[in-house]
């Protein structure tokens, strides 16, 4: 079985600045990979490239064996059109630091927007599934509420449910708890733990080292746009070998 997500020698430039330097990473089905590293090291950029919110300047990214954003023609990659790229994005769920719920839609409408309007699945089926997802993140009672009436933790749980409603093959989290008040972090992390247990393939950028240690199958450390080290939580967090990893871990713990 091919890896769900594969980044192969990915290069990304912002103007002359290289944000990703030859990044290779492969995530298997059901695997939970946590990405840690100092601010500005390219963690968000990597996720944004994987979800095709940014284009890449070298290398290749595949999702479930399909090249992201391009069609291969012999030795060249031909860019796909907007519609094709939009279709590919459906496979990759994204949870943002700032939630990004649609404020003019109720919670339930936020969950239905993708499955009903984009994927054109039957409304009733989607509604049932959406309500079940809200139940799963503990917010069934808030289906009719608007996002601005919810706490940050509740909004982020809705955002997770919205991503899941698309039935993605992989879910990417970009610092999902960094915008939350400390007392609300736990409720979001526990939803994510439950998701990980249920077999969801996840890539999580986070500073919650305890979460990485408990949930991750693999921890990846990035610095300066490159992957410096990767390994089991034991090897990366409990007794890190790499001195840069070690100093980062001791600084955030």
């Amino acid at each position: 079985m091919p890896p769900i997500l594969q980044a192969i020698h990915v290069q990304k430039y912002y103007g002359a600045f290289q944000a990703l330097k030859d990044v290779s990473l492969s995530v298997d089905r059901g695997e939970v990979v946590c990405i840690i590293g100092p601010s500005g090291s390219g963690k968000s950029t990597l996720l944004r490239c994987a979800s095709q919110l940014e284009s890449i300047d070298g290398g290749v990214i595949t999702v479930d064996g399909e090249i992201a954003g391009y069609r291969r023609s012999g030795e060249t990659l031909v860019p796909l059109g907007d519609v094709q790229i939009a279709r590919q994005r459906q496979n990759v769920g994204m949870v943002f630091q700032r939630f990004n719920l649609f404020p003019h839609r109720s919670v339930l409408e936020n969950l239905l927007e993708g499955p009903v309007r984009v994927q054109k699945r039957p409304v009733e089926e989607c509604r049932k599934e959406a309500l079940a997802l809200l139940e799963r993140v503990g917010l069934a009672a808030k289906a009719a509420a608007y996002p601005n009436e919810l706490s940050g933790g509740q909004q982020q749980r809705v955002a997770i449910a919205r991503a899941l409603a698309m039935r993605p093959k992989i879910l990417l989290f970009d610092e999902p708890t960094s915008a939350l008040d400390p007392e609300l972090v736990g409720e979001v992390l526990s939803v994510m733990k439950e998701l990980a247990k249920s077999g969801m393939t996840m890539v999580v950028v986070t500073h919650e080292i305890a979460f990485c240690r408990e949930v991750a199958d693999r921890v990846v450390f990035m610095d300066g746009g490159a992957i410096i080290a990767a390994g089991s939580p034991e090897d990366m967090i409990v007794r890190p070998q790499n001195p840069r990893v070690a100093s980062f871990i001791s600084a955030v713990l």
């Binding site: 939009a86 990004n100 404020p103 289906a143 608007y146 601005n148």
Partner: protein, 313 residues
């Protein structure tokens, strides 16, 4: 000093200093005085005198008020009112469609679209509306016939009626203004909204139309309402090219009977009526687009069967 030592109240505030000023006062009887608002009273009197003066001037002026009431609902005037309303609506519809399209072009990744949009705004915002009306109306002078690369030829004078010329002139220049309003509205929406919409599989265009623009409306509607009211009055320019809107129809009447002021008052009344109705409509539209921004919102209409379905699930 009677209260030398400092004391703290229940909240821990030091009330010793304040107590020095308030020594020996019965707090139960302490009252805050409300001085007489001389300034407000003076301003009100002045305003009242001014209004009396204006009313008196109109009363003693040689205005034959019965002409006003006679003509207010007369057939030619009502035809003009209809012309003003129709032109306002049509020109604004064209303006809003053009403006939205041009705003999106201006923010496009395609440089050709961006330049086209910028050029359009530059040109049609720069040239006076009256001049544009005259240009469209007199198009036949340089293009006697119009055709699509030689196909479907028509006589320009047949097509370029006063209505069409006014509609093009007003609608196209309105589009240039509306484009900037819409662009401002789009910029006011957080970038994360576009990204979130794309992450659930929407194309940029679809995300723009269903996620970003509806949110931008909150910022767009008030200035568009303003511009619609401006347009009501701008349609009076069309009288110059023989389009029969209210100013032209009152003109036709007062050329015949010389009751100039009376008929101008009739036109003024109608403009005020139209503008008042539009202002009321605007406040309803604003309320609609502020959905989701209030506190505990009124029961959302978009989901009438929400709670019932929840119970069933």
């Amino acid at each position: 000093m009677p209260f030398k030592q400092s004391r703290a109240d229940a909240a821990g505030n030091n009330i010793g200093v304040a107590m020095q000023d308030l020594a020996g006062i019965d707090f139960q009887r302490l009252r805050i005085s409300r001085p007489i608002p001389y300034r407000q009273i003076a301003a009100s009197i002045l305003l009242f005198v001014f209004l009396i003066f204006i009313a008196h001037a109109f009363w003693v002026g040689a205005i034959e008020w019965h002409y006003v009431s006679d003509y207010l609902f007369s057939a030619p005037i009502l035809k003009g009112v209809r012309g003003t309303i129709v032109m306002t609506i049509c020109a604004m519809v064209i303006g809003i469609f053009l403006g939205t399209a041009v705003a999106m072009m201006r923010m496009s990744a395609n440089p050709a679209l961006r330049w086209a949009a910028t050029g359009y705004i530059w040109l049609f915002r720069g040239v006076p509306a009256l001049l544009q009306l005259l240009l469209w109306f007199n198009l036949a002078l340089i293009f006697p016939t119009l055709s699509l690369f030689g196909f479907f030829p028509v006589n320009t004078v047949d097509v370029m009626t006063p209505f069409v010329a006014a509609l093009l002139g007003l609608g196209i220049q309105q589009g240039a203004y509306t484009a900037e309003v819409v662009r401002g509205g789009i910029l006011s929406v957080d970038r994360g909204q576009m990204e979130a919409a794309q992450s659930i599989g929407m194309t940029r265009l679809r995300a723009m139309l269903t996620i970003v623009l509806p949110q931008a409306m909150r910022v767009i509607v008030p200035p568009i309402g303003n511009e619609t009211i401006g347009m009501v009055k701008l349609t009076s320019l069309a009288s110059v090219i023989q389009y029969s809107e209210v100013l032209r129809t009152v003109g036709d009447v007062y050329y015949a009977n010389s009751r100039v002021i009376e008929l101008l008052i009739v036109a003024g009344i109608w403009y005020m009526v139209i503008v008042t109705v539009l202002s009321i409509g605007q406040s309803y539209i604003e309320k609609y687009f502020s959905k989701g921004w209030g506190r505990a919102a009124e029961a959302p209409k978009a989901l009438p069967d929400g709670p019932a379905a929840m119970g069933a699930a």
